[in-house]
Symmetry: C2
Subunit: 296 residues, 2 copies
Amino acid sequence: MYDLIIVGGGPAGMTAAIYAARYKLNVILISESLGGAIVNSHKVENWPGIKSISGMELMQNFEEHVKNFNVEILEQNVVDIKKDKKEFTVLTSKNKNIHGRSIILASGTQKRKSGIKNEDKFFRKGISYCYTCDAPMYKDKTVAVIGGGNSACIAALLLTKYCPKVYMIPRSKLRGDNHNIGLVRKNKKIEIIEDKLIDEINGKNSVEEIILSDGRKLKIQGLFVEIGSVPSTALAKELKVKLDEKEYVIVDDQMKTNIDGVFAAGDITNGKLKQIITAAAQGAIAANSVFNYLRN
Amino acid sequence: MYDLIIVGGGPAGMTAAIYAARYKLNVILISESLGGAIVNSHKVENWPGIKSISGMELMQNFEEHVKNFNVEILEQNVVDIKKDKKEFTVLTSKNKNIHGRSIILASGTQKRKSGIKNEDKFFRKGISYCYTCDAPMYKDKTVAVIGGGNSACIAALLLTKYCPKVYMIPRSKLRGDNHNIGLVRKNKKIEIIEDKLIDEINGKNSVEEIILSDGRKLKIQGLFVEIGSVPSTALAKELKVKLDEKEYVIVDDQMKTNIDGVFAAGDITNGKLKQIITAAAQGAIAANSVFNYLRN
């Protein structure tokens, strides 16, 4: 029986683990792969104290920190959680049952799909949801980025380092930080096509062409979908945790949900500014709240 | 005229500066000395991604990060702030007037005094409020620590590396993390005296003796006061910012105060868990809120 089961191994889950270990809680962290969505970030320049680092490397630092406290880590998926009185039972993808007295949900978000015709057909055949992972595969090719936020801007900027031509299709307008938008607009390899949707993706064995809503056809070999994320809240629903209208977990300022013993932290919550630093802080607060919850 | 004036240069103020610079705001950070209270921390082991670092070194990393964005830094004290319509005027200790459209108050807290008879008389003559700064000066001496929280525990532990005997006088009971309390109780150089107050501090030119409430006299050469902090809210009062019953600035989840254009972040706020990671996250959120405030 653990004091605390943390579901998710991104900045929120790992910081919760560090704090829980320092509170001398008997804690297990369950996550199929450590690091969370941020490992797909090519460059992180807003983690205070580090001018520039890859998301992968930053999360490796977190991981070493967690392991330094001898926190138990189970690299499996959680497929179900049940609550019975004051005890939780977590079932993993490898059919393991884990019992605990409290839960921190920190399973983050997953990339949003575009819903464009043929999107699934060309997945991994020209369509990518991870520019950090896949950009080098498109060397000397023409590509397009769907989306207008910071991730889309950064994706386009990175792709210009490999590709002679990058179309940026924000659907409406660019919406990222002024800093990022400025860099995109200045970059001569990027052609921004605002206020147009993509109607169709075509090709034989892989992506060859997209058709815009004005009928214009663009020859491309790669399409990067960067239009945000949806929270991974299947387990929260299982526990009858209250979600907001966008399906994010509703937490109070101490990261408590409406269910006794269930806390949440990081991108999965309804916190407005979704950053590594805010996720990590929420993880620390959630661990502190668990500590107080178990004492009472 | 600056977009944003940040008052305070600890983790909250510096993270706010980093984020504000990334939002392309014209920002100035005013602080008599960068780093904040955490520079007095001998050892930080809960900043995610770094197993162990001194508070001073961690804040130097923050400082380099801020300077990397060419944020203007003014190393002066702020003595007054006035609001006139939508414009703020900040007066510094060197009689400089700074004008801005928004304010982030991030001036943190100051060490609390014990109120014991002769405390002021022996300040810097055996009485210290900064164990990191002063511990090495007490090599081979007998010292006492007043306080029972984490800072007091860590102070006592550090002092055992210099001193043969450390009295720990928490007034009531030890209240820190179990981890810290465990280390204190195991340490044979530390004698814990619970449920006793100190009535008097005596000595000729410097501290020689303390008298406890049960009449017991302890011969010591140094007394470290580690009983918490009080928020530096004189400027907040000037601006008619609402404070809670302990005089911390009341902020909402976006770090807004009750006064338009005035935000706050870090230890100065009524946030419950006061940590570097939570202060930094509040700084990021405050900068984001300023960005939104100025756009509207």
